[in-house]
């Protein structure tokens, strides 16, 4: 048995070795996509989409299309969950590639630009990709600008953020709760009690990384560095989130729920735990979702049970972080920056291309219900659901269950939302990297405050004094300085 396995394996390996030999070692660069079409350039793009069993077929179709349209084929590398681990090394090693996914939360845009990972495309845009330049709204380009240069192409999707509580429809209806009246944790009091009595479910509370959203503040960087500005503060005064009244109020609300035994505090700071509790329908409400049109249908499919959402009492808001949540930067090591930009333009403007790469091949991976609505086929071998990570979602098909005009609604939300006074500002942590590291360690130590178990006054006072020792004042001062400079230069 083992012998046969080895023989099998040997053959597989030899075949693989041959394949490996053919496709070469690292990087893309110039070369054809297989057959000698004249001047077809092959590029290489790294992304966070997980590997799909049937991706070869889809890639072939896509490359055929793009080769004809713009003379470019692409070697997509689907990294999936290992993206974070690998991309840092790939970039740092100076490996040749053409573009990669970047954002504020994965493969951080700011740091990459600061360390020279991407090229400035602001000059190229109007010439090489005029359509792209036009279709993407100005405020998105502004958000992606750092020190006057644009270093990545944003993907269009929902950018207006509004924190909302995800709740099982069954519990809401079963307890006779009017969801429109639930705007924050206090409003939830009744519902929480009833949900506990009837279903044994507790409130998950607030996810620590969304705390500022709940309180009506915008993070300068993220929750670990504590600096925020109030969402409607035109003067953009930077303050320490953990000093604000809103934060203390939130903590008190959580502690209150906890005292009544209605809070499952660990959901707020033990990341996986919170989500798995929610998916298991053990939380009656959990502030961790973002509101967008069609989110209910989406979450219901994800969770396997009907979900409803209750947005917080804070307006939808567009911050730099919201906009740069999904982008593609063109590498300094790319040998074909112009072709790559053209390719990215295609993903942003061409419906066929973006749908192909997002949903696969018609009949094989999805079926059309009508002109622009589809239903995905289960276990088809190509289904990643990460259209947002690839291009312009507004050009993609509507999924069964989403409202027909979901994209129109989303665009409307984007357009009508309040934009941040510091849109386009990105904080460079370098001058205070020591203090920021200290501060983030301290914040991490006190994360469990959102668990509602610890005495609020006392513990928060401790947190604040530790932050002082860590150098929070210096951090806030530096943030303010950079913000002021930014505002002055506008």
């Amino acid at each position: 048995m083992k012998k046969r396995m080895i023989a099998l394996g040997m053959t597989a390996v030899l075949a693989a070795g041959a394949l490996a030999g053919c496709s070469g070692g690292n990087g893309g660069g110039s070369g054809d996509g297989g057959d000698a079409k004249k001047d077809v350039v092959n590029i290489r793009i790294h992304t966070t989409v997980p590997e799909q069993t049937d991706q070869d077929a889809v890639m072939e179709a896509l490359n055929e299309y793009t080769a004809e349209k713009i003379g470019v084929t692409c070697d997509w590398v689907f990294h999936g969950g290992s993206y974070a681990d690998k991309i840092q090394t790939i970039i740092a090693s100076g490996e040749e590639y053409d573009a990669c996914f970047t954002s504020n939360w994965l493969n951080p845009y700011n740091t990459n630009v600061a360390k020279g990972a991407f090229i400035d495309i602001s000059e190229m845009l109007p010439d090489v990709a005029p359509d792209l330049y036009e279709t993407i709204p100005d405020y998105m380009w502004t958000a992606a600008t750092i020190n006057g240069g644009i270093y990545a192409v944003p993907n269009q999707q929902i950018v207006a953020r509004q924190l909302c509580a995800l709740m099982p429809k069954e519990y809401v209806e079963g307890t006779g709760t009017d969801i429109n009246a639930v705007k924050n944790l206090t409003d939830m009091g009744d519902y929480a009690q009833k949900a506990y009595d009837q279903y044994g479910a507790q409130v998950g509370g607030v996810n620590i990384s969304s705390a500022a959203d709940y309180c009506g503040y915008e993070y300068i960087s993220d929750y670990l560095s504590a600096g925020v500005i109030k969402m409607d503060d035109e003067s953009a005064k930077v303050v320490n989130l953990y000093e604000t009244d809103e934060w203390i109020n939130m903590l008190n609300e959580l502690a209150d729920l906890n005292d009544k035994g209605l809070l499952d505090g660990e959901c707020g700071y033990m990341s996986e735990y919170g989500e798995s509790q929610r998916l298991a329908k053990k939380t009656s409400a959990f502030y961790s979702g973002t509101y967008k049109p069609g989110v209910e249908a989406e979450e219901s499919t994800r969770a396997g049970y009907d979900c409803v959402v209750a947005p917080v009492d804070v307006e939808p808001y567009i911050s730099t972080n919201g906009v740069i949540a999904t982008m593609y930067g063109i590498s300094v090591t790319s040998k074909h920056p112009e072709e790559t930009l053209k390719y990215l333009e295609l993903l942003s403007t061409d419906e066929y291309a973006i749908n192909l790469i997002s949903y696969g091949i018609e009949e094989k991976h999805y079926e059309k219900i009508d002109d622009h609505t589809i239903r995905t086929i289960a276990d088809s071998g190509y289904s990643h659901g990460q259209a947002w990570a690839l291009g312009n979602v507004f050009n993609t098909y509507v999924l069964e269950g989403q409202p027909d005009d979901v994209w129109e609604q989303t665009k409307e939300l984007n357009d009508s939302a309040k934009t941040s006074p510091i849109l386009g500002f990105s904080f460079d942590p370098e001058p205070v990297q020591q203090e920021i590291t200290n501060v983030s360690t301290v914040v991490k130590q006190y994360e469990s405050l959102v668990g509602g178990e610890l005495p609020v006054e006392e513990t928060n006072a401790e947190l604040l004094s530790q932050l002082e020792v860590a150098g929070i004042d210096k951090v806030i001062a530096e943030m303010q300085k950079q913000v002021d400079e930014f505002l002055a230069s506008k």
Partner: protein, 294 residues
């Protein structure tokens, strides 16, 4: 013959050993049991030692792409077998050289081996060197070569080799044997427990490795078992974690995540537990170092 130990200590020894074994076995049983439990039950009632809601769902999910899993098994086996053969030979050879006090460059060689145990250039330089200069990316060798020579094992082997009386080596030399012959005919047969131990460790090293493929392999045909499982788990975790940026059309609820995690552990470690007894027959005493008068 060793004197038989008296009953009191004997009971004590057995008691302690049993206790320790229980400590080790219970978590394993838990893992296996969870892998056969229904995710719904786990989530409702927590982990348990007995499977609740017996189901093969987790395994079905793991083996969904059976062809890919089998291929990755094959890759892992090839890598492990090659790595073991080459690794044990080379490490043992250099360990033998080190075990000879009369070797001229003994001290220098030891230092040469110790340094990499504490000093490392880090991920980025290794990556640059291996992918750009050695051109080993996406080859089977990148999973074998970097792990081949392990100073820790070499030192271990050297220590065991030194236990063998030099009189035997002297005798062989007097008989006209060259170093290679001494190594093969005298040392190796006598060092079977040591070789089996290190052989076991080398096998484990290769079998469990997921880091080399993570960094250096993009091609699915070359993924080894551990890496394939790692990807599966990471992708599921990403879907759970990213509620705010998740996609559509996929029901996370359909994925038996908790039990799947454990099922993967079983799939990954299982074969090793079968291989272990194979090495074990060399572990057991019965070795006679007799035959030559000192």
């Amino acid at each position: 013959m060793k004197k038989e130990i008296s009953l009191g200590p004997k009971i004590a020894i057995y008691a302690v050993l049993i206790l320790f074994c229980l400590l080790c076995v219970i978590p394993i049983i838990t893992v296996v049991s969870i892998s056969f439990s229904s995710d719904m039950e786990i989530v409702k009632n927590g982990y348990g030692i007995i499977p609740k809601g017996f189901t093969l769902d987790a395994y079905a999910f793991v083996f969904k792409d059976a062809a890919a899993i089998l291929r990755s098994y094959a890759v892992t086996i090839i890598v492990t077998v090659l790595g073991l053969a080459l690794g044990l030979t080379l490490n043992a050879m250099i360990a033998y050289v080190l075990s000879r006090q009369d070797y001229k460059y003994n001290k220098q060689l030891t230092v040469f081996l110790i340094i990499p145990m504490v000093l490392s250039g880090g991920m980025v330089p290794s990556y640059i060197w291996i992918t750009r200069y050695l051109q080993l990316k996406n080859t089977i060798w990148v999973m074998i070569l970097p792990l081949l020579i392990v100073p820790w094992f070499i030192v271990l082997l050297r220590t065991f080799f030194r236990q063998i009386p030099t009189s035997l080596i002297e005798a062989a030399t007097v008989d006209g044997a060259g170093e290679l012959t001494i190594f093969a005919r005298v040392i190796l047969p006598l060092a079977k427990p040591a070789l089996a131990t290190v052989g076991m460790f080398i096998t484990l090293n290769y079998w469990n490795d997921w880091f080399q493929p993570l960094m250096y392999i993009d091609q699915r045909e070359l993924y080894n078992l551990q890496y394939r499982l790692y990807i599966m788990m990471r992708d599921v975790q990403e879907m759970i974690r990213n509620s705010a940026v998740s996609g559509m059309g996929i029901s996370v609820a359909d994925m038996p995540t908790e039990s799947m995690r454990m099922a993967m552990c079983v799939v990954a470690a299982g074969p090793m537990l079968v291989v272990f007894p194979f090495f074990q027959k060399y572990f057991v005493k019965g070795l006679t170092v007799g035959g030559v008068k000192g």
